[in-house]
């Protein structure tokens, strides 16, 4: 990646995607030091136990298992269908929703608990009003 790309490189699609402009992007959770619940996105108070100021950043695993899904055939105008909307439980904690890619969207090909990897890439060419590119996360069947 060029020096310029690092400086003006893609923005993270969500605040809990860290390292968007680097070679080492990852998802970050917030773990409660009191009850170990894991949240996506920064917060001051734990929604599980109510502890205040006990949340600590935690790098989430890039490996997980498919918990549930739907195959989306009808979406808003301009959005490519069909695609798999997936709920993934990450190893070591944290649940994330995203697109499951590199898999023909057919229930025959999808099994609960199938292992998946979290991968990072361009946000399907979507740009904001200022023309900024974004980096997103996706799930792929684990090799």
């Amino acid at each position: 990646m060029s020096e310029e790309a690092v400086n003006t490189g893609p923005l993270p699609v969500v605040p809990f995607l860290k390292g968007a402009g680097t070679n080492d992007p990852y998802l970050e959770g917030q773990e409660c030091a009191a009850c170990f619940a894991i949240f996506l996105g920064e917060r001051a108070t734990c929604a599980k136990c109510g502890a205040r100021n006990q949340l600590r950043a935690k790098r989430l695993s890039a490996r997980g298992k498919l918990y549930s899904y739907s195959i989306v055939y009808r979406s808003f105008p301009g959005i490519d269908v069909p695609y798999i909307s997936a709920i993934v439980d990450l190893e070591g904690g944290g649940t994330v929703k995203g697109n499951l890619i590199d898999l023909e969207p057919d229930p025959e090909n999808i099994s609960f608990d199938m292992p998946v990897d979290v991968v990072f890439g361009d946000a399907l060419g979507r740009k904001d009003r200022e023309g900024n590119r974004y980096i997103s996360y996706f799930f792929k069947p684990a090799v």
Binding site: L11, F76, A86, S136, Y137
Partner: protein
């Protein structure tokens, strides 16, 4: 504390009324409920109004501007798809607290067509179709697939819910649709979000429903002949569960509300004669058989297979046609469900009458999440 009674309740036939205003649509049901009670707007001491689409636009006051500006207090409620039930519950609470003897609750909604929901708003770029889907058909498909994961529930079993509810609606002249949809028609309809086909998604319609609630003292004055007693009114929010903030958990919130409602009413699920539950999608109805205790966990697929939840079955569910075919005007739904149950308890259900109905339960879910449950009892 006084028991609280419904003495007037009605709904308009659901449909699409683009040329009417939200207050006009709400006013129609309000007047129908007042007529049903044999009362007038001058008898009402407060109005509790539920509407989502114009939640910041004083819909309750604008209804009074249509039917009588008597100067009573108005509360406008918004609570997603639990909006109407929340307004009804606020009305119930005002009488339970001894503040009023006679109040009006109205739920009303005017809807566009098309998908509701969508993944992630906020800054940056649109997230729908990038970080999965936040459309309602997909969210409730994922909730249904969790049931498939646990119990092997099939696409066909989910589809049977829609066959049943569409069949029920052929007996309900106030439903949006009165059309039979056989299983192959449901399963071969356009797939929206697997496993929900178009016929397994609730219908976006315009509609309104209203109820007159009174204290025991007032009910006795008016005569208890057609009165319905409110045995339980419960509202719950989503408790913390591991995936709730990523995959809304409609199960835990319903189980909290159901447990409280049965305790408040002093009854069990086995005592209930009919249920109107939140079938926003066919997948959702299956979950709630178990969440409401109508069967044991893992038995919901068998219940729909064996027809236990059909009219004439052990515990008929959504004999109105449900949100799937009667239609789902968000703010009106919670009171329309109450109208349906009251109609059966009064023995006025016509061709779809659940015979011998004495106790009925209504359930709604507002995603985000709110669950409201009411248990209603025949009096006379």
């Amino acid at each position: 504390m006084s028991d609280v009674y419904v003495v007037g309740v009605d709904m308009i036939k659901f449909g699409r009324f683009p040329d009417r205003t939200v207050p006009q649509i709400g006013a129609e049901a309000a007047l129908m409920a007042l007529d049903d009670a044999g009362l007038t707007i001058q008898d009402m001491q407060a109005l509790y109004c539920g509407n989502l689409g114009q939640a910041n636009a004083m819909v309750g006051q604008r209804i009074l501007q249509e039917i009588g500006q008597t100067g009573i207090g108005v509360v406008n409620c918004a609570n997603a798809c639990a909006t109407g039930a929340t307004a009804f519950r606020e009305a119930w609470m005002s009488i339970k607290a001894g503040v009023f003897d006679c109040v009006l609750a109205v739920g009303v909604e005017q809807m566009g067509k098309g998908l509701l929901g969508g993944a992630g708003g906020g800054a940056g770029i649109p997230k729908e179709g990038l970080l999965g889907s936040g459309t309602m058909p997909a969210v409730f498909a994922e909730a249904g697939m969790e049931h498939t994961r646990k119990y092997g529930t099939t696409f066909e079993q989910f589809a049977k819910v829609s066959v049943k509810n569409h069949h029920h609606s052929t007996l309900n002249p106030k439903a949006m649709y009165q059309i039979e949809t056989p299983l192959d028609m449901v399963m071969n309809a356009e797939m929206i979000s697997y496993p929900n086909t178009k016929l397994m998604c609730s219908v976006n319609v315009d509609g309104s429903a209203a109820a007159v609630l009174v204290s025991e003292k007032k009910a006795k004055e008016l005569g208890l002949g057609r009165a319905v007693r409110i045995k339980a009114s419960v509202l719950a929010s989503d408790p913390y569960t591991d995936r709730d903030l990523v995959m809304p958990d409609v199960n835990a919130v319903t189980r909290i509300a159901a447990k409280q409602a049965y305790e408040m009413a002093g009854v069990s699920a086995a005592d209930i004669d009919l249920v109107e539950l939140h079938d926003c999608f066919a997948t959702a109805e299956i979950l709630h058989y178990e969440n409401l205790g109508l069967c044991a966990d893992g038995e919901a697929g068998r219940m729909i297979d064996e027809g236990e939840v059909a009219l004439g079955g052990r515990i008929p569910v959504n004999v109105s046609g449900g949100l799937l075919s009667k239609g789902h005007p968000l703010g009106a739904t919670g009171i329309a469900n109450i109208y349906e149950v009251c109609t059966h308890l009064r023995g006025e259900g016509g061709h779809r009458q659940v015979s011998g109905a004495r106790l009925g339960l209504t359930h709604v879910i507002g995603l985000g999440s709110a669950c409201a449950i009411h248990i209603l009892e025949k009096v006379a």
